[in-house]
């Protein structure tokens, strides 16, 4: 009987494709929007991800994220270094600055000063030149998204001179980094050099990056740093989460994407519900005949379930493949750099598809159940 059910469905090509389209479209919209949402808010943590060696971030107690920070006195570094379980601790400076390009444009940038000796604080990989290039005087390394923001297409940024707080800076390398939420240009330089670029106030040490000794637990070291120094310490994961949370709380992004996802769901319910109820209505006589001949209600439930499962699984697969192709297709575009589909998102859209089909299948089934077998003689 299931074979008959499937043939009933696929035999009506228009409605079959309509159902597939509805499910695929819903899946695509929900999966794709959730992926973009997830990847976008993850950028709130890009500062953390771009300094991969740091296991613990130490900061002033009022600092909230890599971008929303308050500088500490320089003595904080030694205080952190003296805490038991701290294997190494290096200074890390993050500060906004205005830069004047050689063409005279003014651009807002983030200056990141990394430890002179170890270069800890740089992104993991470089696209142009090696990390050692920072040893050369007046050198800055620009992040790859920064290039597209600051320079015209095809212009080679290497060797470009910039003016930072009346200081000379020359771009000598490009870092492979995750763009920040605002896609603002980031310029990496040595800590000692960064101090020159950032207008002088007394305190300019924004973070201390920490690695822990073998055999230590992250949580223990965090507690010890906080108790001993009075500063705030967060593990890499917690601090990344704080950055994401900041975006969620301070932008309209969750609402906007939430609305789109809801629309995807509603459109799915509308298209699938309408098409499926049309399909059931067109076949109600046949279902009635089957009931009269002697097909039990339970068999009919299985038939309709098989029909829903078929369009559901094909439509869902098409939608997910569509999303993957979309993300893959746009992975070269800086706006979508680093976007990926976490496994939870297809599960969410699968749940949505199941709800859509359960709702519409139930409605269709109800009208089949209600059909009296005697109706076939009318």
């Amino acid at each position: 009987m299931l074979w008959i059910a499937i043939r009933m469905l696929t035999g009506d090509a228009m409605k079959f494709y309509g159902l597939l389209f509805g499910i695929a479209f819903s899946t695509l919209l929900i999966t794709q929007q959730l992926t973009i949402y997830y990847s976008l808010i993850e950028r709130g943590a890009s500062g953390v991800y771009n300094a991969p060696e740091a296991e613990i971030w130490v900061m002033d107690p009022v600092s909230r994220t890599t971008e929303v920070n308050y500088a500490m006195p320089a003595t904080a570094l030694d205080a952190v270094r003296s805490v038991e379980g701290v294997e190494w601790a290096v200074p890390h400076l993050r500060a906004p600055a205005s830069v004047r390009t050689s063409t005279g444009d003014l651009e807002g940038v983030t200056i990141v000063g990394v430890d002179d000796a170890t270069l800890i604080g740089l992104p993991e990989r470089m696209l142009v030149a090696s990390k050692d290039i920072l040893a050369q005087p007046d050198t800055v390394v620009i992040d790859d998204t920064g290039i597209t923001n600051m320079f015209e297409d095809g212009q080679d940024p290497i060797g470009e001179r910039l003016e930072l707080n009346d200081q000379r800076a020359v771009i000598r390398g490009v870092a492979d980094s995750i763009p920040s939420f605002t896609s603002q240009v980031t310029l990496y330089t040595k800590y000692s050099q960064a101090l020159n670029y950032v207008p002088g106030s007394r305190n300019r040490l924004t973070f201390v990056l920490v690695g822990i000794s073998d055999g230590e637990q992250l949580a223990d070291v965090v507690d010890r740093i906080e108790a001993q120094t009075g500063l705030k310490a967060e593990t890499r994961d917690d601090f990344a989460q704080a950055g994401v949370q900041f975006i969620i709380e301070n932008t309209g992004i969750p609402t906007n994407f939430g609305i789109t996802v809801l629309l995807g769901f509603i459109v799915g319910v509308a298209i699938v519900g309408l098409t499926f109820s049309l399909f059931i209505r067109d076949n109600i006589k046949q279902f009635g005949a089957l009931k009269a001949i002697g097909v039990t209600n339970w068999s009919i439930v299985k038939m309709v379930t098989a029909q829903a499962a078929l369009v559901g699984s094909i439509g869902y697969a098409l939608g997910v493949v569509g999303t993957v192709l979309f993300i893959y297709g746009f992975s070269g575009v800086p706006t979508f750099k680093g976007f990926f589909i976490p496994w939870e998102i297809p599960l969410v859209s699968l749940g949505a598809v199941i709800i859509i089909l359960a709702m519409t299948g139930w409605l269709g089934l109800r009208s089949v159940m209600r059909t009296e077998p005697a109706a076939v003689f009318r």
Binding site: M8, T10, A292, I293, G294, V295, A374, V376, F377
Partner: protein, 239 residues
């Protein structure tokens, strides 16, 4: 399975009453029908539109509950069965021919004719083979692989007949089987039905308006306003 006794009682109907609600009021469509339908005979139920023919045979074949009365089909009191038992009883014992055929448009003639066997749990291929045999007997064996919409009305009706007979039911019920056919096709279909559906131990009830085929009946019941007013081998003279 079947008894050779041609006069065995197939259906024993006693005191069948059926009411329908029409808005506020209740209309009595059948007024205590008592009759027996015998195996080995082709019984016609005739009467004016609205006289209750469809209602009567629906009750006799277990798809419509009577308001009152008892129906025994081959000895089984069908309305004392549970829902599932009744569905299964129909599947094993009754073949249906509907006026509008109600074939499934997206499966071919052989599969349509095989539906009762498939519903009984027979695998697709043997079920189709058995159905194709029957289609050959009905002279449309060469149409077995065509979809219903590729067949003429008469051919579709034969597929519907094959579907009604493929599982060798003991009772076959037809409501207006020739209404959609021209005179010649209608007569051919009825001849065919006589040939295949009437056998010892097997009963066939046909509801019809079609006076062109009255001469093919073994027995004619005339229904007027929910009562049987004539029961004989021919039509009464006043019709």
């Amino acid at each position: 399975m079947t008894s050779p006794d041609a006069t065995e009682t197939a259906i024993c109907a006693r005191g069948i009453t059926r009411d329908f609600k029409a808005g506020q009021s209740v209309i009595r469509v059948l007024h205590g029908i008592d009759t027996d339908i015998r195996s080995g005979e082709m019984t016609y139920v005739v009467g004016e539109s609205g006289s209750g023919k469809t209602t009567l045979i629906s009750i006799m074949c277990g798809i419509l509950w009577p308001t009152d009365g008892e129906v025994k089909v081959f000895g089984t009191d069908i309305y004392s069965l549970s829902d599932t038992e009744l569905v299964n009883f129909r599947l094993q014992n009754i073949g249906f021919i509907f006026q509008q055929y109600n074939l499934i448009p997206s499966i071919d003639a052989a599969s349509n004719a095989a539906v009762p066997l498939i519903a009984q749990g027979m695998p697709l291929e043997p079920a189709r083979a058995k159905a194709t045999e029957l289609l050959e007997k009905l002279n449309i064996g060469d149409q077995a692989n065509k979809l219903p919409n590729q067949l003429s009305g008469g051919q579709q009706q034969r597929v519907a007949i094959a579907r009604a007979l493929v599982h060798e039911p003991r009772l076959v019920v037809c409501d207006e089987p020739t209404a959609a056919l021209d005179a010649n096709s209608g007569r051919r279909v009825m001849d065919l039905l006589r040939e295949v559906a009437v056998a010892p131990g097997r009963a066939c009830i046909i509801v019809t308006h079609d006076n062109r085929i009255f001469d093919l009946a073994d027995r004619i019941l005339v229904l007027e306003d929910g009562r049987i007013t004539h029961d004989g081998t021919d039509m009464p003279d006043d019709h």
